[in-house]
């Protein structure tokens, strides 16, 4: 009896099991669609519409003397303008430097902090709390504090370096095209390395003690234990952390905007601040929109890798 029913549900050899049509599958799940409908409507209003409107605007010119509804169709002119402008190239390079350097050093610093905090020692809790401060304080407040630290006349950093005899006079960190981007990157690393630290500390918890002991018995020194046991275990969380940092850095706005506003002479602009300036400073909505669409495409690509990294982590764990 049970054998007979077992065979009946299985398709016979050579016969392709027929998949139910999309429509019938949708109908079968109609209540599920109903449940997610409110969320979808909200998403459409606050996300999909702005995206659509930005894409639309990117094909128009919006001279300041015209009303928005009288915008002028220009095709892909805005894209051409953006992509061929020398400022765009300069800002793109700055964005890449900003993102890469911030991500790399924040991750490295976070990894170091996580590894040193992973061992037990007296005062570990206090250290952990202290190192978390940059991450939890407001970025605007931090930016103002750093702006003051960097200040060419009253800045603490300049004063200390003069007193210690490193320099004859205070360095002008922010009003100098050569040093401004690096100075901002330092602030950004300081601000976000604790995020990497928290992520990696969580990752370190998953490294089995027994594996470390096995490696110890097998003769691995501290570096080899890290390289052969700990680091492979951190691969998944590292990938996610780096991607999240990259996305956050591509999108970061507060630090450059508050500290320099992109100056001097665009030397500390990154894409986001530049777009903001074009749109809300110079009212060049069309150009800014085209610019934003380019950024959007780049972000989507990053997002794709992020999701891929996430699901790969799941697969590795499932296996």
């Amino acid at each position: 009896m049970s054998i007979a029913t077992g065979q009946a549900t299985r398709p016979l050899i050579g016969q392709v099991a027929k998949r139910p049509s999309i429509l019938s599958r949708v109908i079968a799940h109609r209540t599920d669609y109903l449940y997610v409908l409110p969320a979808i409507i909200v998403m459409l209003v606050v996300i999909a519409f702005p995206i659509y409107y930005t894409i639309e605007l990117s094909f128009f010119r919006t001279p300041p003397n015209l009303q928005m509804r009288d915008k002028i169709w220009t095709g892909i002119d805005n894209y051409r303008t953006v992509l061929s402008s020398s400022v765009f190239h300069e800002v793109t390079i700055q964005t890449i430097i900003w993102t890469a350097a911030s991500t790399f050093f924040a991750f490295l610093l976070g990894l170091g902090a996580a590894l040193s905090l992973h061992r037990e020692f007296i005062g570990r809790g206090v250290m952990r709390a202290l190192l978390l401060i940059p991450y939890v304080i407001s970025a605007v407040a931090a930016s103002y504090v750093w702006k003051w630290l960097y200040h060419s006349d009253f800045g603490v950093i300049g004063a200390i370096s003069v007193q210690l005899g490193f320099t004859d006079e205070p360095i002008n960190f922010l009003d100098n095209r050569q040093t401004v981007l690096a100075s901002l990157i330092v602030v950004n690393i300081w601000k976000e390395f604790s995020f990497a630290m928290v992520m990696l500390m969580a990752g370190l918890q998953t490294v089995p003690d027994q594996l470390i002991r096995a490696a110890q018995v097998d003769g691995a020194n501290a570096w080899n234990r890290f390289w052969h046991v700990t680091f492979p275990h951190l691969k998944g969380v590292s990938m996610v952390t780096v991607l999240l940092l990259m996305v956050a850095n591509f999108n970061s706005f507060i630090i450059p905007f508050v500290m320099t506003g992109g100056g001097p002479a665009d030397a500390s602009h990154i894409w986001i601040t530049h777009i903001y300036q074009l749109a809300f400073g110079r009212q060049q909505w069309g150009i800014a929109s085209a610019y934003a669409v380019i950024l959007f495409v780049v972000m989507m690509a990053l997002g794709y890798f992020y999701v891929k990294a996430l699901t790969r982590g799941d697969e590795a764990r499932a296996g």
Binding site: P208, V217, G219
Partner: protein
């Protein structure tokens, strides 16, 4: 291969002594099982031998070196862990090669040694696989291989079979025994399963509460348990322990129950009972030494059947005597029922007497 000597080894965490004054010698080529319940200090002792934990006191000698301050890698030991502890991102080959690689052996030698070990353990066909693609038994064999490949002086095994299912465990038990026989290896083996210890080890060290209670061959531990803990821990079903009162009149002695019966003791047992610090004595007996009668015979005491468990070639019964549960094995042909009144005859030659106060086995003075 080498011998291991532990001299007054201590490990404390604040006021808590995980290992308390443990001294024992593992002879060259001997298979020693550290056995005891969870938290008895057996794994800590193993980790101290391995050098994975710092000692609080005492000395450990492996071969002819005092290894107290040596790192695990310098102690010439290999370890097999409970969860196998295979490197998940490495293939079986690379897992086996890792300890050799860390010792900077030339590549062709590594290759040769790995293949030899793989052949010995019959895992050659698995060399290119990752640990997660292996069954529990295969992973266990790889873990053994990783220990074996280095040709260490001592093998330390921390409950290597406890993650396997029952059938595989029995199979791997004989494989590890064979492994020991073939290599003539010195092995220290930690287990909470007394059956593993009894079946595999040349000697067993029974631990409880950080103390080493008894260190002897399984047969001796089984026959002469040093105290009530060892008596009830080793053997399955456990030795039955009945708390009674010792009574002497002249040279005769007997054990009296508050239930009203009295069990006369043989002269030998009477001398043992006389050495007790108080009159409270615990009578111990293994199931196979007891005889069950339906009617009272001389030297038997009354009891009430609690449960009957037929296992096929032998039937186990639990009988209440003086409030204690007594295990007894009977022929399957014997028909008994729960709540039935029966009489249990003790074998004076093979019964054990313990001091109820100190829990120690009583010796004839």
């Amino acid at each position: 291969m080498a011998e291991i000597v532990l001299q007054r080894v201590m490990k404390n965490y604040g006021p808590l002594y995980a290992v308390n004054d443990v001294s024992l010698t593992v002879n060259d080529g001997e298979f020693v099982a550290l056995v005891g319940p969870s938290g008895c200090g057996k794994t800590t002792t193993l980790n101290l031998i391995a050098g994975l934990l710092p000692m609080s006191g005492g000395d450990i000698v492996i071969g002819d070196r005092v290894v107290n301050d040596l790192d695990p890698k310098d102690r010439d030991i290999a370890m097999v862990f409970q969860n196998y502890a295979l490197y998940p991102n490495k293939t079986v080959f690379k897992n086996l090669a890792f300890p050799l690689q860390m010792r900077k052996l030339p590549k062709d030698q590594i290759d040769q040694k790995v293949r030899d070990a793989a052949k010995l353990l019959d895992i050659t066909h698995l060399l290119e696989r990752k640990p997660r693609e292996l069954s529990g038994g295969q992973q266990q064999r790889v873990a053994l291989g990783r220990a074996l490949v280095r040709d260490p002086a001592v093998f330390l095994m921390d409950e290597p079979l406890s993650n396997l299912d029952a059938k595989l465990r029995v199979q791997m038990r004989s494989e590890i025994k064979r492994f020991h026989h073939n290599l003539n290896a010195t092995i220290v083996y930690v287990t909470h399963d007394q059956l593993e210890a009894v079946t595999m080890a040349d000697k067993m060290a029974v631990m409880n509460g950080g103390f080493l209670l008894q260190y002897d061959t399984p047969a001796n531990v089984f026959a002469n348990p040093i105290n009530t803990f060892v008596a009830s821990f080793i053997g399955s079903p456990a030795m039955s322990l009945i708390p009674l009162e010792g009574v002497t009149s002249g040279t005769d002695a007997s054990l009296r129950s508050p239930e009203g019966w009295e069990l006369p003791l043989s002269p030998m047992n009477a001398r043992k009972a006389a050495s007790s610090t108080t009159s409270k004595i615990v009578l111990g007996a293994r199931h196979s030494t007891l005889k069950l009668h339906k009617t009272q015979v001389p030297g038997s005491v009354p009891g009430k059947v609690y449960t009957v468990e037929p296992t096929g070639d032998v039937t186990f019964a639990q009988v209440f005597i003086n409030g204690a549960v007594v295990n007894i094995s009977v022929e399957p042909s014997v028909v008994i029922h729960p709540d039935e009144q029966v009489f249990i005859e003790f074998d004076q030659e093979r019964m054990h007497l313990f001091d109820a106060e100190t829990t120690m086995a009583l010796q004839a003075a």
